[in-house]
Every structure is written in C-alpha cells, then in structure tokens.
C-alpha cells in the first residue's frame, strides 16, 4: 500500500485526555503533522460542551476519560440524533489493549483504537487510515456508528501484514493485550457492503 499524505490544515481537532502533559505531546505531534487548529479538554463534560459550540472534524479521546470513560462518551455522541458531530471520526486512545476492550471500543462506535503509548508514526498512520478508508455508517435501534464488519485488506501506510491473516474472529472472553497491529486488524478495512 502506498504511503498516504494527509493534510490537517484548517481541520478542527479535539484532543480529550485527563493528562495535560499528554495533551501537550499529542498537540505537538499534530502540529508536526500540519494541524493548526487543535482544542484540548480534560473530561467528558468538556468534550460535550465543546461539541455544542464547535463543528469538530476529528476527536482524539482517551479511553479512560473522566468521569465515565471514552467508550461511554463515544456511545453518547453517536446515539444523540441532535448532535451535528455525530458522524465525526473518533479515535480512542487507550493503554488497555485487551481484546475485549478493543471490541468494546468498536461497539461503542469508535472509528479506530490507538494504543498508548502513542508514537508519531502510529498516530499519523491511523489518521491517514481514517481519512482514506471511509466507512459506511449503520443506524439501528441498538447501534449508531461505523460499519463494524471487518476483513483484512492491508494496514495503514503499508504496515506489515501477517501471513496467516484472514477473517477476524473476536473472542468472547477477555484476552491478553493486543499489539497495535492486532488492533488495526479489528478496525481495518471495513467491508462496505459490496462483499
């Protein structure tokens, strides 16, 4: 897969993390990528307040964002029909990369899970993936968000694909932590209904 270049200039990016220093680091990375409009908040009420007053283009949200966590917040945003930011890309950042947690993020309506600790390369690749791989949205009584049906079609910016990759089965039990590649395989290459 060819490397994709993303243009973040003039996009309004909201970073939500309880740690001011981590926000600063993410902010610095985004500026390095060319972003010039980045807002920061520390908790879920801050996110909801910001969404009321701004048209946010992408949300980078900590999975453990106080008080109820980024997963619950994602669900709240997706399920509110009056929220004009309802379909914005949401990337959840989390240190908890157990398979059950990743699946919970997907089921909450996140576009992508980004494993903490963050690296500039992984963050750029995940943003590029979301930009160049738009997914259809599903609206049902119990779910609103990106299509959760997946198959492996390659990793963002050519990150290695394993020989044995095939259709993803999501285990019912809580499993061991996943590497970012494994997380990608759960969030990768959404089938858009043609298959």
């Amino acid at each position: 897969m060819a490397e994709r270049t993303i243009n973040l200039r003039d996009l309004l990016i909201l970073v939500a993390d309880p740690s001011p220093f981590l926000c600063l680091l993410v902010h610095g990375m985004l500026r390095g990528f060319g972003a010039n409009k980045v807002l920061e908040v520390r908790d879920s009420p801050g996110v909801l307040e910001t969404l009321n007053g701004h048209k946010i283009d992408v949300l980078l949200c900590d999975g453990a964002l106080p008080p109820h966590g980024g997963f619950a917040l994602t669900r709240t945003i997706r399920r509110n029909p009056n929220n004009e930011n309802r379909t914005m890309p949401i990337l959840l950042m989390t240190s908890d990369t157990r398979e059950a947690t990743i699946k919970a993020g997907r089921d909450a309506g996140a576009n992508m899970i980004v494993a903490k600790p963050l690296s500039p390369a992984s963050l750029y690749d995940r943003l590029a993936w979301v930009a160049f791989n738009p997914r259809q949205f599903i609206d049902t009584e119990t779910y609103f968000g990106p299509d959760r049906r997946f198959k492996i079609e390659g990793y963002p910016n050519g990150i290695g694909r394993r020989k044995g990759d095939g259709a993803i089965e999501v285990a019912k039990e809580t499993g061991p932590a996943l590497a970012q590649d494994d997380i990608d395989s759960l969030f990768n290459a959404a089938r858009t209904g043609q298959n």
Binding site: I6, G32, T87, Y124, N157
Partner: protein, 169 residues
C-alpha cells in the same frame, strides 16, 4: 465478527469534513510529519519535570494509603491512573528507564486490581525506583544500564503478580 446489520438498519455514507479536507494535496508527507512531531515532542520535554512531580506525588499519595492499610478500592484506581500516565509519557518522550519502572509497576497494580493480593513492599520499591527519575543523570538511562535495578524490579513483578515467568508462555 460483528453481526450483520438487521434488515431495518439504515446504512449510509456520511460525508465528513475530515475525510474531504485531509485528502487535499499540500499535506505534510509522512516522513517529514513524523520528524516534525518528534522535534515537537523534544521541545515538550522541557515541561517534563513539573508534570513528573505532579504524577509522582499523586502516586505517592495513593501508595501511602495502601501502606496505611486502606481498602484496595480506596487507592488502586488512582495508583493505576498515575502509573499508566508515567508509562505512556515515558515511552512517548523516550525515557526508557521510566517506561520500564512504570511498566512493571503497572503489571503489579493491574494484578492487584484483578484480585492478586497486595504486597506493599513491591509498591514501595517501585516508588523508590521512580524517585531516581527525578535526577537527570538517571532519566536518560536505559534499563540495561542499571541491570541490578532492572532485574530486581522484574523479579518483584514476577513474584507478586500474574505476569508469566521469564521464558514461560
């Protein structure tokens, strides 16, 4: 794999500004963007001391509660919050010793959260190790440059948590 949508599901393709604008020409190519970001991370390190003191003090408060015999629910979430922050930032800014110490600390605390019995000594020795990071001469070291400390913390984490023994899968 997630279930297929129900027949009543509405399926649509939202047009987001992000996906439209991010694909415009004129963006920062990946290699340059990553270099720029790494430079910005280096600049951000200037604020590390103040941040580190805040995290460490929060962690010490939590561990003091543990040492005083408080119920695990009274301190474990705060301790996990601060150690995860230390590990995540340590890795992102490239302080490998901090990452190592806070990672083994996370392993122990995650174990306690999952029901493993709390061993106060293991918490204390990790806090003591983290105090080294206050000193700049230690901050930039790698774990292999302090082999006794590293092996000791690893052994502690192995003995009091659910982490598999070395070489065991």
């Amino acid at each position: 794999m997630a279930d297929n949508p129900s027949p009543d599901a509405k399926i649509f393709s939202p047009k987001t500004r992000f996906q439209t604008l991010a694909r415009r020409p004129g963006g920062v190519p990946r290699g340059q963007a990553v270099d720029n970001a790494l430079n910005n991370v280096e600049e951000t390190k200037l604020g590390f001391d103040e941040w580190f003191e805040g995290e460490l003090n929060g962690l010490i408060d939590a561990i003091e509660r543990a040492k005083s015999g408080a119920h695990v629910d009274d301190w474990i979430d705060a301790a996990i919050f601060h150690t995860h922050n230390l590990r995540d930032v340590g890795t992102t800014v490239g302080f490998e010793l901090l990452t190592f110490i806070s990672s083994t600390f996370c392993t122990i605390l995650d174990g306690i959260k999952s029901g493993v019995e709390c061993n106060v000594e293991s918490l204390t020795c990790h806090v003591d190790a983290l105090l080294l990071i206050r000193k700049k001469q230690y901050r930039n070291l790698r774990p292999d440059q302090l082999p006794e400390l590293s092996r000791g913390l690893h052994r502690v984490a192995e003995s009091v948590s659910i982490v598999p023994k070395t070489g065991q899968k």
